[in-house]
Amino acid sequence: MAKSIAIRLVRVATLLIGLSILTFSLIHLSPMDPVNAYIGGDTSASPEQIEKFKQYWGVDKSPVEQYLSWAGSLLQGNFGTSLLYRSPVLDIIQSRFLTSLALMGAAWLLSGGIGYSLGVIAAVHRGKLIDRIIKWYSYTLVSTPIFWMGLILLIVFAVWLKWFPVGLAVPAGVLESEVRFIDRVHHFALPALTLSILGVANVAMHTREKMIDILNSEYIVFAKARGESKWQIFKNHGFRNSILPAISLQFAYFGELFGGSMLAEQVFAYPGLGSTLTTAGLKGDLPLMVGIILVSSLFVFAGNLIADILNKVVDPRMKGAV
């Protein structure tokens, strides 16, 4: 157990090093100029001032030197300062991550719960109408772009029905201290729904396959022969054998969830990590962008790690195999 965790820690370290080098090189090759981004459209800056900036930031040094000095301060916990927001990158990531986490967490739980239930229902009624509906729904959703789904929901529920606000995380023009919890939920519902609806398909189809395998297994035949009812069979054997793969799949789904939240946040102008990353990328806020990329890759890695460990720790057959 300790050994396998150590191996994974080494793996995440190399992953982060590799990722930071890759991001750094890509940015270096891109036409984005941090100095320009910082000054913005301010034409009053003289060439001497710009030169001073370049010197101050070390942009005139070689890329390797730049990388090493950046990585060095990163190791000391200094992610740098965001050019757009003029505050430490880590602070921004922290506050945005919490907003995103609520969104992703809700979508994660909802899509997991609904997806698992749909998968079980489809498997139990395999070949019947309800199974075909669930299958059709899942296949359709899996091939639906998330931003498109977000726009549809926006048009229907925000524009036509006016049930939900069009965007943002809190009402516009209201003081932070006066925002009620219900307002937050109100703003958060549509993006969370968008993310959940699409996340359902994956886990539903997987659970359906797994459950069909289980229902065809000999231990289910035996359970039936022992007079267990359909509900007892599900409770005693179906749930037990299918929930673990479903949960680990859901953890491994962190990556897609993050990618999805980026698009959903963009559509709903929801100020989470994803939309911040898009803004940072578009406006050339390099420290913020690299910081978010590193943190989000850590997040995705954590999801996969949990899925991995969960399988080995919870499944009794894997005891000693860790």
């Binding site: 231990y219 359970a223 022969a225 022992r226 007079g227 054997h237 009794p316 057959r317």
Partner: protein, 287 residues
């Protein structure tokens, strides 16, 4: 006979399946099975692999796959055994000992598996059953993969013993088991019968079945070939009614493989082959 516990008459089982993509056909692995079991009696159902023995058990229990079609009559205690009645009786009056330890849930502790369907006093009954089958109380905390094959067989037996069970269907409980364990299993089946239950022992091991069975039903390619008293299987098998059973009996290792009969067999096969060649040339062979 009216005092029969279980009476299976002209049972046929077919499976509809797709072939060549979209065409549907029905295959009939079982065409005409007849078996009768009385209370306290052990009837061995003997046949080679694929002869339809296990399907018989699954048909009586009502656990055939969804694409199966059954024909014929099955009566239990004088009344037709409908699917609803099967669902009501299985696990309560009719219990099943499956042929493989894969029939246990891999993720459930074996003690809990034995407790399923036992009701309020399940823990104490389970302890008693474990004792009866020589399992330690601590074994109940283990998962199936942690027990040996022999222990798992005993767990399977423990799941089949229930208050009020009148019919026990044991599907191949003996293969791949060393002699002492085999004797143990046979003893346990005998014990179930002596407690008044009817036992259907499905096996391809004729010799060990004869040690405890009262009667033997021989099955070949989905038909009952013969039902005889166990006592008829002795010597050269002159009391056996059909040629097939006699050859089966005399071909056993204990009966010297009877080479003389095997010679006759070869002649017959050669004749069959000529006949089928004729059919093929006429193009009369259609499916």
């Amino acid at each position: 006979m009216s005092d029969a516990l279980l009476q299976v008459e002209h049972l046929s089982i077919g499976f509809s399946q797709y072939f060549k993509g979209t065409k549907k056909r029905v295959i009939h692995p079982i065409s005409d099975l007849n078996v009768e079991i009385r209370e306290g009696e052990i009837v061995a159902v003997v046949g080679s692999s694929g002869s339809g023995k296990s399907l018989l058990a699954h048909a009586v229990l009502g656990i055939l796959p969804g694409n199966a079609v059954c024909g014929g009559n099955i009566a239990y205690r004088g009344e037709p055994l409908t699917e609803e009645r099967k669902a009501r009786l299985r696990g309560r009056e009719i219990s099943f000992i499956p042929q493989s330890v894969n029939y246990l849930d891999p993720l459930m502790r074996v003690g809990k598996q034995v407790r399923i369907g036992l009701g309020a006093d399940a823990p104490s009954v389970q302890q008693a059953l474990f004792q009866r089958y020589g399992l330690k109380a601590s074994d109940g905390r283990l998962f199936p993969y942690e027990l040996s094959g022999g222990m798992l067989r005993r767990v399977l037996f423990a799941t089949s013993v229930r208050e009020g069970v009148r019919l026990v269907i044991a599907d191949e409980p003996t293969p791949g088991i060393h002699p002492e364990a085999l004797a143990e299993i046979l003893k346990q089946l005998k014990q179930l019968a002596s407690e008044g239950a009817g036992v259907m022992l499905i096996t391809h091991d004729l010799m060990s079945a004869l040690e405890i069975a009262d009667r033997v039903a021989v099955i070949e390619e989905g038909r009952t070939v013969e039902i005889s008293e166990a006592a008829a299987f002795e010597g050269a098998g002159r009391q056996l009614r059909t040629e097939f059973t006699r050859r089966l009996w005399r071909a056993l290792p204990d009966n010297d493989f009877d080479l003389e009969l095997q010679g006759k067999e070869e002649v017959r096969i050669a004749a069959d082959r000529r006949k089928s060649g004729l059919l093929l040339s006429k193009g009369a062979l259609d499916f």
